[in-house]
Point group: C2
Chain length 255, copies 2
């Protein structure tokens, strides 16, 4: 049974792309067959996995547009065994506008994945843009789990209630299977009172699990994207690589 | 002559809201009459200036919707003399959808400001969301200048060309006055090779000015929003307050 996991948060810069690439890398390292899908027109996941945008002929923009190009035709292997990627390009922004008037506009990604992913992948990870628009909604409708990266900062914590409300609405109206797997504390710097206070706030929100794994502020996570590899490959003995391996274990155990 | 400045970048978490609030604070301190407009449904600027969302009856959502509520009715004074704010709420997200089919949808904010701001403010600063949708486009059409905060990180630099293309298109088709005032390096940590390299990349892009002021990584900028005050008030002698005072000087000199 393929697990489809969205990485979502409308707050910008909280570490969605970083979590997608590196959780993907850690799971692939354990032998899982992993597909990362880039649902962000910024295409950071695509570039962060070493693909040059000028080489991308077809992308998620084509899969979601009226042509409905099959996923098979766009998926590429990365340099890492077991880790594939469905790339995005800037064109995805205009596809989102096209989707506005399409029938069944919230289920286009789910329909593209239906049955197809089962045969080839154990895990599908979907990176989403910093909005609650149709691209993020398509990702949530296509998923059975969602991980919410949350920077240990004031604005990121404040924005959570609105995000959780949208996820609950999608669960009731469009996708009964959708569960929040957990909140992932990111950019954590234990030396500051602010980060410790915000982490405490996050844990006191109640209702949802906060992963015991925290992603600490580290320059290694800023450097890895320049190499086009997950941090588990780029800096395999680093604290960041260990953290994402711990996260992968938690994700596997939670099922 | 009122200067209207947008703070824009579709990359999330680069410090748009932080630059809006603290440049606003530094200019108000010098005696300029400043209005900060929140064009982001996340309403981080509104909350960061000490306004509780549950107190906001009318917001930018009403100004831009069919009711066209005048800006006068929503603007509030902050605790800091000379600094006012036009608040936002989550409803702004549905207003953006409404705008899609409105005639003259890109000029609604410009028309709301037209002539009104001249009488009351010296500077208007517009915070925008992490997308290149209609809310950001309205901000850019209403502005004569735009400041682009750029994290000294790989993805933020990669996304710049796309943003500058959109700004140039708006300049040609919708707003001939629009000029890029400068690129503002943010989250700079001089101890890391990555930040120094990315700053170098930023400066080598050519074409546009990079402010000599850099906003360094500092916990003070994460703490200030909890107090509802700009860092120039919250931590008046800090390096962050000095940096935004320097930025205010650069902005005044560039005109
Ligand atoms: N724990 C960390 N420590 C240091 N740098 C990090 C960390 N996590 C991510 N980064 C860097 O910070 C930047 C923001 O992270 P990232 O792009 O993954 O966030 P995002 O939520 O995907 O952003 P967006 O909202 O634009 O999609 C990136 O340049 C990334 O390399
Ligand atoms: N130089 C800095 N040093 C440390 N923290 C900072 C700095 N600048 C901003 N921050 C903090 O980092 C977070 C991201 O900044 P901010 O919210 O201003 O970015 P943004 O571009 O407005 O994000 P969004 O794309 O979601 O609108 C905030 O919590 C802010 O308090
Ligand atoms: Mg991202
Ligand atoms: Mg912001």
């Amino acid at each position: 049974m393929t697990k489809v996991i969205s990485i979502a948060n409308q707050k910008g810069g909280v570490g969605k792309t970083t979590a997608s690439i590196n959780l993907g890398g850690a799971l692939a390292e354990l032998g899982y067959r992993v597909l990362c899908i880039d649902m962000d027109p910024q295409a950071n996941l695509t570039v962060g996995l070493g693909i040059s945008l000028s080489d991308v002929r077809h992308s998620m923009a084509d899969v979601l547009s009226e042509n409905r190009v099959p996923l098979d035709e766009i998926v590429r292997q990365t340099e890492m065994p077991g880790l594939s990627v469905a790339p995005s390009t800037l064109e995805l922004a205009s596809t989102e506008v096209e989707l506005f008037t399409a029938i069944g506009r919230e289920m286009v990604l789910r329909d593209a994945l239906d049955g197809w992913a089962e045969r080839q992948y154990d895990v599908v990870i979907i990176d989403s843009p910093p909005t609650l628009g149709l691209l993020t909604i398509n990702a949530l409708v296509a998923s059975s789990r969602v991980i919410i990266p949350v920077q240990t900062q004031f604005y990121a914590i404040k924005g959570l209630t609105a995000l959780i409300k949208v996820i609950n609405t999608i669960k009731i109206k469009l996708n009964h299977d959708l569960e929040i797997l957990g909140l992932l504390a990111t950019f954590y710097d234990g030396r500051t009172v602010l980060a410790r206070e915000m982490l405490q706030n996050l844990r006191e929100l109640g209702d949802h699990r906060v992963f015991s794994t925290m992603i600490k502020q580290t320059v290694k996570l800023g450097e890895a994207p320049l190499t086009g590899k997950p941090v588990t490959e780029y800096a395999t003995h680093s604290a960041a690589a260990r953290a994402f391996r711990d996260l992968a274990q938690e994700v596997i155990e939670l099922g």
